[in-house]
Amino acid sequence: MCRKKIDKRGLARDLSFNVASWVILLIFVLPIYYIIAGAFMTREEVYSGALFPKSLNLNNIGIALFDFNMLHFLGNSIIFTVIIVVLNLFFCALAGYALIKFDFPGRNILYVLTLVAMVVPPLVMIVPLYLEVRQFGWINTPLALIIPAFVSPFGVFLMRQYLSQVPDSYIDAARTAGYNEFEIFLKIIIPLSKPAMAALALYRFLFVWNDFFWPLLVLTGDTWMTLPVALQKFDAQYELSFYELKLATSLIGIIPIIILLIFASRILLRAMSRVGGIKG
C-alpha cells in the first residue's frame, strides 16, 4: 500500500466506507462491546447503564474466577475442547482418507450417511442421544461429552474433499519405498493435509467451545461442568443480580474466540466457503 500521491478520491471513498462499516456494525458489535466494557465496570455502573467503565478494575474478573470458581469451569472447557478437537482431527482425517483413496464395501453408503448427518439438525438427535448416553451410564462423566463428538461428519466431508487433490502417485511411491499403510497416513497424508486440518481445528474449536445445550443436559454436576453451562447456572441462580460478574465471566469465555479470529480469520473463511461445494 505505498501510494506516491495521496489520492483524494480514494481517501474520501475509504473514509465513507469506514463510516458506513461502523453504522452497519453498530448492532452486531453491541454485545461484544458490552461484554468487554461491562467486565471492567463497577456494579453501580452496570446497573445504571453506563457506556464506559470509569476505570479498568479487574475485581470482577478476579471475583468470578476465584470466588465463584469459574477458573475450574474454564479449565474443564479447555480440557474438553482440546480433547475433542484432537480426536476429530485424527479420526476425520483417517475416515476422509479411507473414503477418497480406498475402495471398500459400503463406502458410498458411508459417504451419503456422512452428508445426511451433516445436514440433519442436532436437535433431532438430542432426545434419543440423551437416552442412549444415559443407558451407557455416562451422565455426569467426561465420556458423555467426548464420545458422541469424537468424529465430526463435517470434518470427514472436509478432509475427503481436501485429500481428493492429493495425487495417488504420492501414496504409491510411499508404498514402493516400503512404508506400511499406517505410516503412509501418519507421515504422508497428515503433513499434506495441514491446511484442511487447521481449518477443521478452528471450526470445531469454536463449536465445541460454544456448545451449550448438550453439556447442559449431560454434565450437571460441578466436577465436569463447562464454562457456558456454569455461567447459565450462575445466571439462573442469581437472577437480576451480579451482572458485572456475569459479564466478566462472559469476557473470560470469549477471549479465546477473539484471539483465534484475530489471527486465523482467513482459515475459518476458507473452511466455511468450502461447504458450498455440496449442493443444498
Binding site: 462499516s21 447503564g49 479411507a98 440433519v120 460454544n210 457456558p228 451482572y243 480469520s265
Partner: protein
Amino acid sequence: MKLQKAVKKQVIGLLFASPAIVYIAVFFLYPFLLTVYLSFTEYPLIAPPKFVGLDNFVTIFTRDATFGDSIYATVIYSVGFCLGIWILTPALSLFFNNKFKGRSFYVVIFMIAAMLGVVPSAMAWKVVLHPSLGIFNKLFFYSWGYTGQVDWFSSVNMAMPGMIMVTLASGIPFYSIYLIGALGGIPNHYYEVAKIGGASLFQRLRYVVLPSIKPIYLFVIVTSLISSFQMVSWFFLLTNGGPVNATRVLSLYIYNSAFYYYKFGYAAALTLVLLAISSILCYFALKVMSK
C-alpha cells in the same frame, strides 16, 4: 497376488473408516431409529417404553393447545429470522466485498460477532436490552425523546421481535461468512471484463456476482431455514418460552416435554413433526430457488 493386494486394500480402507462407521451407526443411525420407535410409545423414563400406537400424534394434532401455540410462535419467528437472513446477508456480504482500507478489520469483528457463543451473547443482551437501564433503549429510543417503555423479552408483543433481533445479530454475521468467502473467490478479471463491456452495477450483480454465489446462497437459505427451527438455546436462555407461551417455539417445547415433564415418547413424536415440517419447507425452498 494381485487379487490379494486388492483385498488387502479393501481391508485397510475398512479399518481406517471403521471409527467413522461406528460413529455414524451408534450416534446417528441408531438414535434416529430410536426416535421413530419412541414416537409410538409412552416413556416417562422411570418405566420402560409402552407402545401406544399413534396416540402421541393424535394428541399433538387434536388436543394439545401448547403445540398450537408453539407452531404459531415458530412460524412468526422463522419468517422474521429467515427474511432477515435472506435479505441482509447478501447485502452486507456485498458491502464487505468492496475493497477499502480497514476492510479486513471489520470482517474480523463481523466474524467475532458470528462466533461469540450463545451464553455470553445472551448475558450481554440481557443487560443491553434491559427496558429502563439498558444502553440499547437509551441509544435508540429514549435519547430521541421516546417516553414509553420498550419491554424486550418481558412483554407479549415485544418478546418475539426481541428474539428475532437478537438471533439475527449473530445469525447475519454467521451466514455472511459463507458468502464473503464465496464472493472473495470470484476472480477480479470477471468484474473488469464486465466493466469494460459497459455493464451497469445491476447487470454486474445479475450476471457476474449472482451466478457465482448461487450455490452457496442456496446453502445459506436452506441451512438458515433449518436452523430457524433449532434455536432452542437462545429461547431457553432469554425468554424460556414466556411471556404466556409467546416465545415457546417448537424446539423449546420439545425440550420442555422431555427434560421438564419427562414425556420422552411425546418429545420424540414432536421431534418427528419438527423434522417433517423443516424437510418439507426445505424441499420447497430448494425447488423455488433453484429455478
